[in-house]
Symmetry: C2
DNA sequence: CACATATTTCAAAAAGTTTTGAAACTTCCG
DNA sequence: CGGAAGTTTCAAAACTTTTTGAAATATGTG
């Protein structure tokens, strides 16, 4: 496989800055990171993003890229890319650890904040694009509703109506995301819980 | 107003014209089906599922597999597979057309019903798996919380707490999906609209 | 029944995505 | 400055998913 060598270098004896001592994941960590990886993959991210985040989330201390490489058996390149992607999503932060020159990483632990950020950036953009496209389609349909050909007219009218439905659905989705994000800035969980009780 | 040929947009720039009169997509159809395809792909389905569904949704009459093949420039195999997949998701139905022996297809036009069905079958399963995995991880952690080694104990406690947070989030998600599905059976749109007004 | 046409299936090809590993780069330290 | 350790980059390889096209199958009709 791959020649891993690290044993010798930790002679430094910095008292409290640790490389993890148990390099292997506990079963609970393995299970959770695997499951989060799948959930998140399903949701459109890379599995490794979920796994790396989970390991960090369950770790008491920040971890180095090397720690993660070992824990998850990834290449250094994969770790680096995954971390920087997670960083771009704002779900993992670099932590400066005194007395050690390598970078350490820790996970955002405010779950709700994290989720709302992702919704806001990723989902919202997609929904907004759709809204725009639907609006344009409606505009392009407008002249056809006055066509001399009654078949064309009928078709244009039907399409206009249906695209309008899609547009409304998309707007509803956008509002939902907006609401989520806005309220997440406060403290969403109780609120959502409250909302879910109402349906009656 | 000119019909748009999907294939013409793809790289080659060679618009291989085929279709008979009336089979081409209008620009509004092309744009909408493209956008729905992307939205849905983003959401984990195949792009063609979104495109086929959209074309059906915007068509006044049911279409045959052949019609779709032409409109979207797909192979017959692709159309067949896409349609049967859409059928399995219950978003497209076969329609019997008198005096024609080929099958015709039409799209589910109750958007909300459609969406809630998909949520129910696909998302819920995934969330439920996650809940199960988290619960199991908590159980496996239990004995470690009584470990003689204080480091192990501390670590186990931290993990226990964090996995509990994940579990609660997952349960919240599940409840949200449940609520969506339940209320969608009635008439969800107004309800959701109502819910979204509250947060203030 | 034989025919023509419609539909499904499926192995192989194409397209797309993720991971790797080695080289280039950066930073810190003596 | 020179070197050691850590990090990033990126082209190529491995892997995954999607699409194709042709053969197999099914179905209604004369």
């Amino acid at each position: 496989m791959d020649p891993v060598d690290f044993a010798a270098r930790d002679a430094s004896g910095k008292p409290e800055r640790v490389s993890r001592e148990g390099k292997e994941l506990w079963p609970s960590e393995a299970a959770v990171s695997d499951r989060v990886g799948r959930l998140i993959e399903f949701w459109g991210f890379k599995r490794n993003m979920g796994r790396v985040w989970s390991v960090l989330y369950l770790s008491p201390d920040p971890l180095s890229a090397e720690d993660l490489r070992e824990a998850l058996q990834l290449s250094s390149g994969a770790v680096s890319m995954t971390l920087s992607e997670l960083g771009r999503w704002g779900v993992v932060r670099k932590v400066w650890v005194q007395g050690d020159r390598r970078d350490y990483f820790s996970a955002e632990i405010q779950l709700w904040k994290m989720i709302s950020r992702v919704f806001n950036e990723r989902e919202k953009a997609e929904v907004e694009n759709a809204i725009e496209a639907f609006e344009e389609a409606l505009v392009s349909l407008e002249p056809l509703k006055a066509s001399p050909d009654p078949k064309v007219r009928a078709r244009a009218e039907l399409q206009f109506e249906r695209i309008t439905n899609l547009l409304e659905l998309a707007r509803l989705g956008k509002r939902l995301l907006d609401a989520l994000v806005t309220t997440a800035k406060i403290d969403a969980e109780p609120l959502v819980r409250f909302l879910l009780q109402r349906p009656k």
